[in-house]
């Protein structure tokens, strides 16, 4: 525990020395209302959120509470109707143009006419990387998600879970400092999910990436995150922000510890309170 705490301390010192750019995402009073045919939908209301470099932040909340929408705002796929947001100190659009993030969608969204390797290569082609660099990154990231040997297969020849892993490899291949992941493991079975959770955590610990992660699973959120954001619907807003004091270096066994269960309990209470059971 001591060693870990001191490791954390040194890191804090490190990050505070480099002035304020360690604030990766800064959201203030942000709201987003969709104008639909049946009137306005208040997808996000009055969101305040700060995410620091190296954070692993999870968004958790009932379906329709605006998790995807908030992630899309960060990625400049959706424009807020009010409030302020900056990513890496600049507007989301500028951050996107700087290729600041990799995005994993709720579905795999692979291009059906490209093989798996070619799908992973897609962002690399767009970035204009050399063929050798592309090959290197494809091989490395396909291995990371355990898809080595499937390079020449087409998406329809793979199971849904394998497709989703390919889409993760595609996002990782960009080697972004910020990873935005929308329920990336939602379609996978428990065992594969555990495995990928561990790998994602290792990757994160190794590279000091910032991850924003949407999930429906309480154990997943608690296991992965340094910060858990509980959202509630109608209008979509932040109900609770839980700073996790679990060590950064964790293994799956931590899920049996009282500290883990305590945080999980608080998340569950938040979800229950924010959830209206009107039928």
């Amino acid at each position: 525990m001591n060693a870990l705490a001191s490791a954390k301390d040194t890191e804090m010192v490190e990050t505070t020395t480099s002035a304020s750019p360690n604030r990766v995402i800064d959201i203030e009073n942000l709201s987003l209302t969709f104008e639909t045919n049946d009137g306005p939908v208040h997808a996000l209301s009055d969101i305040d959120l700060k995410i620091e470099e190296g954070d692993f932040v999870s968004f958790i909340g009932p379906s329709g509470c605006g998790k995807t929408t908030l992630l899309r705002v960060i990625a400049d796929l959706e424009k807020p109707t009010a409030g302020h947001i900056s990513v890496n100190g600049v507007s989301p659009e500028e951050a996107r143009l700087n290729r600041a993030y990799g995005y994993v969608f709720q579905a795999a969204a692979l291009y059906p006419w490209r093989t798996i390797a070619k799908n992973v290569a897609l962002p690399l082609e767009i970035m204009g990387l050399s063929a050798a660099e592309q090959r290197d990154r494809i091989a490395r990231n396909m291995e990371l998600v355990n898809l080595t040997g499937f390079e020449k297969k087409y998406p329809w020849q793979l199971s849904g879970g394998m497709q989703q892993r390919a889409s993760i490899a595609r996002a990782l291949a960009v080697e972004p400092d910020l990873l935005l992941m929308d329920e990336p493991f939602g379609a996978l079975d428990e065992i594969v999910r555990d495995h990928l959770n561990e790998q994602l955590l290792q990757l994160w610990a190794k590279t000091n990436k910032t991850v924003v992660f949407v999930t429906h699973s309480i154990p997943e959120a608690v296991f992965l995150s340094t910060k858990i954001v509980v959202l509630c619907p109608r209008p979509g807003r932040i109900y609770d922000v839980i700073e996790s004091d679990l060590p950064r270096d964790r293994s799956l066994d931590i899920r049996e510890t009282p500290e883990f269960l305590k945080i999980a309990h608080r998340v569950r209470e938040g979800l229950k309170a924010g959830h209206s059971y009107e039928d």
Binding site: D76, R96, R99, A109, Y111, W113, L122, P123, I126
Partner: protein
């Protein structure tokens, strides 16, 4: 354990074998069409045959004799299938290709202007679609014109195009090809606009997250998405091109081509010649569309979009 027979007992229905697979049903349909054709030929040619008998003073001709005679008239209202087949045989296999009476020669003329018009029309259609998809101004300004262009009957403007182009010294293949172009660019434009706009939202979003340029999004996403649409509209465009080529041959004084054969045939009441030209045109259209179908299969297979 009960004994299960290894082979299913054959059904006692004599037609069950005939209707299984694809060869059987196709044969049945073709035979049915030929049978209906014969019956129609007899029915339509009977009045004229009766006239002939009357003029010749023959009063009671046996029915079987009359049926035979209706199928061997020189200028029947509706020629019988075998008459058409004999005519096609005589004008293809038994004539030199260079002869003006060779159907192969005329088919070749029509084919060349069909293909030329089709290539220009397809290229034009693709370019228009690219413009329309990428520019709101082009979409709003071009689309109404493109649609109204197709409401004008082709028979009305074909002579004008031919005459005008002849007046400025352009004759031969190009004027006819222009009419084919006029008919074939439309399905390609409409199909390609639909295809280029069909990518899933998530696939477009993905391009957006990569900050891909419009050119990159076009090459890597919109174009591959549009390929199946392109082939479908090319099949329609090809058939329309052939119609355009034949229509384009009518006002030129019926010199050469399948259209000329149709026109000459109707001048001189040569129904057998008309029908053999029609059959040839149908065969040509079928082959061209089938050829595009083969190209489509090969392309989609190469792209990994077909199993």
């Amino acid at each position: 354990m009960t004994d299960v027979p290894l082979t299913q007992p054959r059904s006692t229905n004599p037609f069950s074998g005939l209707m299984s697979g694809t060869v059987g049903p196709v044969t049945v349909v073709v035979l049915a069409i030929i049978a209906i054709w014969y019956i129609a030929a007899v029915a339509l040619n009977t009045p004229f045959q009766k006239d002939i008998y009357e003029r010749a003073g023959q009063s009671d001709v046996a029915v079987s004799q009359m049926v035979t005679d209706t199928l061997f008239q020189e200028r029947p209202v509706l020629p019988a299938p075998h008459q058409v087949i004999v005519e096609i045989w005589e004008t293809t296999v038994e004539k030199k290709i260079t002869s003006k009476r060779s159907l192969v020669y005329h088919t070749g003329i029509t084919l060349s202007s069909t293909l030329m018009g089709f290539l220009i029309g397809t290229t034009l259609g693709i370019l228009l679609a690219i413009g329309i998809v990428h520019s709101r101004v082009l979409d709003k300004s071009l689309m109404p014109w493109i649609i109204s262009s197709q409401t004008i009957p082709i028979l009305a403007i074909a002579p004008m195009i031919i005459v005008v182009l002849n007046a400025v010294g352009i004759s031969g293949l190009l004027p006819k090809a222009m009419i084919s172009t006029y008919l074939s660019f439309f399905p390609v434009t409409v199909g390609m606009v639909k295809g280029l706009r069909s990518p899933e939202v998530m696939h477009m979003d993905l391009m957006h997250t990569y900050s891909a340029t419009r050119l990159q999004a076009f090459w890597k996403l919109r174009l591959p998405y549009a390929v199946p649409y392109l082939f479908t509209s090319m099949k329609i465009g090809m058939a329309a091109s052939l119609v355009g080529a034949i229509v384009g041959e009518l006002p030129t004084g019926a010199v050469a081509g399948l259209g000329a054969r149709l026109l000459a045939g109707s001048y001189y009441g040569q129904t057998v010649q008309i029908w053999s030209a029609l059959l040839m045109a149908a065969f040509l259209a079928g082959s061209l569309v089938a050829l595009i179908g083969v190209l489509e299969k090969l392309t989609l297979k190469r792209m990994g979009m077909a199993q």
